[in-house]
């Protein structure tokens, strides 16, 4: 993990204002993420996970602190960041090909080279036959892959996955997590996954960041080291250490179910 720091979050705090008063969503978040790393952020609901992701994506400006990518201050959306929304959000009226080109279109960057790169990804990840199909003709897993290619087409340095698999049924979810992880590794991308699923976080990432209840602060950071034969999210779930990590993070999340 001695690799270069790609993303630097420096003392980020976020406050929201409403007629009823002020809500502190995040407090003093500092975190460095190295190139090629896969980091998950887990936390109880309403802890500001999504707020943090929105800040990283440059959609909102933090009340205090700053985010740097490749030592550049993030102030607004940047092509360095690719965002994977919850639910694939493919546009039903566009074919898969035109969905994949969406980001490039918005950034006025549709040219021979970027189109060829997008087409190559469709071919590599088994979607080339569905290039001219509409999203409604694809299965949930294929749609998720198409959404990932749409994000990768703008060639970002960092991928932000916002509960990216939560809309899928359990079986599909496990398979898609495997596929997505493999694609991200083979494209050599850095990724930040926000999730409420502890097992998903452990199985996919090298580090798991646990946030506290509101105002969200970093409660703990776990380096995940697993002994397993197949180093895929599914394989990693087989590791003997898996359960121990799960229990530790579960306790830290401090979830109380109202009786």
């Amino acid at each position: 993990m001695g690799a270069e720091k790609l993303l630097r979050i420096e003392k980020v705090s976020m406050k929201y204002y409403s007629p009823e008063g002020e809500i502190s969503a995040l407090q003093d978040i500092s975190l460095d993420i190295a190139e090629g790393e896969f980091v998950s952020i887990v936390g109880p609901s309403g802890c500001g996970k999504t707020t943090l992701l929105n800040i990283l994506a440059g959609l909102i400006t933090p009340s205090a602190g700053a985010v740097y990518i490749q030592e550049q201050l993030v102030s607004g959306a940047t092509p360095l960041v690719g965002y994977m929304p919850q639910d694939d959000q493919l546009f039903e009226w566009r074919t898969i090909w035109h969905n994949v080109l969406l980001g490039l279109e918005v950034q006025n960057n549709v040219n021979q080279a970027t189109k060829a790169a997008a087409e190559k990804m469709l071919r590599t990840y088994g979607l080339i036959e569905f290039k001219d199909a509409y999203p409604s003709q694809l299965s949930g897993g294929m749609r998720q892959r198409a959404a990932l290619i749409r994000t990768l087409a703008i060639n970002p340095e960092i991928l932000l996955l916002d509960e990216a698999f939560s809309a899928l049924d359990y079986q599909t979810r496990l398979v898609v997590a495997d596929e997505v992880k493999e694609i991200i590794s083979s494209e050599n991308k850095t990724a930040v996954l926000v999730t409420h699923d502890i097992a998903e976080a452990i199985s996919m990432s090298e580090r798991v960041v646990v946030l506290s209840k509101r105002p969200g602060t970093i409660k703990n950071i776990h380096d995940i080291v697993l002994t397993c034969e197949i180093n895929s999210p599914l394989g990693r779930r087989e590791a003997i250490e898996f359960r121990a990590y799960f229990n530790r993070i579960w306790k830290e999340l401090d979830v109380h179910v109202e009786q």
Partner: protein, 272 residues
């Protein structure tokens, strides 16, 4: 590529029976529809011939056909239909375009939307035909006033329904575009408008009907030609044949225009 599991070559006996039952049911619906129309016309004709009803005030199918024929022979038929059709299409198109344009402006600025909200609510509940006399004073006794009526009747509904369609577009789709760095104009072009095409088409369907209302009322008030004029004139001189004939032409024209919008829908929302 989806319906591979639905094989057609080896349809089972049960499946054939199911298909046949479905077909028979469709046929029964169509037969009943035709029978209803034919018996209504036949009964009307019979009742008038046998003097159960007074054909002078109730008219009669054969006399309506005769009226249509003489209108056609006199060359008046197409003038009247043409005038009304032109006014309706013009009012309908202008109302839809203007309404959509204003809806875009309201979407653009939340401030504008909030400022105009109470005015739109009041205008929406106002029966627009009440503004007819004002239009006539402002625009003169003629086609311009009638088109303005058709426009007025449809424009407010268009603004409200299209704007609410715009506001219902999935926030996550907009967020996705924003992460790509999209400008407000790009968000409008790439997601708001295409996602709202079904809403806009259903607004069109409502507007077809409303524009006819506007045009016919307008013609009642001012015109010297058109189907509304024929209806009012026929009523005044007690020529109920003429009134009925005009109503029938109106039915056909309105239905055809509605079908045109349905065709447009099929053309634009093929992804559904």
């Amino acid at each position: 590529m989806l319906s591979n599991d639905l094989t057609t070559q080896a349809a089972s006996a049960e499946h054939l029976a199911y298909l046949q039952a479905r077909k028979r049911y469709r046929w029964r619906v169509t037969a009943a529809q035709i029978l209803l129309l034919v018996s209504f016309i036949a009964l009307w004709e019979l009742a008038a011939t046998l003097r159960w009803i007074d054909p002078f005030i109730m008219s009669q199918p054969s006399r309506i056909v005769q009226t249509l024929r003489s209108l056609y022979a006199g060359g008046d038929l197409f003038t009247h239909v043409g005038v009304t059709l032109l006014e309706t299409v013009a009012g309908f198109t202008l109302g839809t375009l203007l309404g959509t344009f204003i809806a875009v402006a309201l979407w653009w600025s939340d401030y504008l939307a909030e400022v105009f909200d109470p005015y739109l609510v009041v205008l929406n509940s106002l029966p627009k035909v009440a503004l007819g006399p004002i239009m006539i004073v402002w625009l003169g006794q003629g086609m311009r006033a009638i088109i303005a009526m058709a426009l007025l009747v449809s424009v407010i509904v268009t603004i409200l329904s299209v704007y609410s369609g715009f506001s219902q577009v999935d926030k996550n789709k907009i967020k996705l575009l924003k992460t790509f760095g999209a400008t407000k104009k790009q968000i409008m072009q790439k997601v708001i408008l295409p996602a709202s095409i079904p809403t806009i088409i259903s607004a069109l369907k409502i507007n077809v009907g409303l524009s006819w209302v506007g045009v016919i009322v307008g013609e009642f008030l001012v015109s010297r030609a058109g189907l509304g004029y024929l209806i009012v004139y026929g009523g005044q001189v007690f020529r109920l044949d003429l009134v009925m004939a005009s109503v029938i032409i109106l039915c056909v024209a309105a239905a055809l225009m509605y079908q045109a919008v349905v065709l447009l829908e099929k053309r634009f929302v093929k992804w559904q």
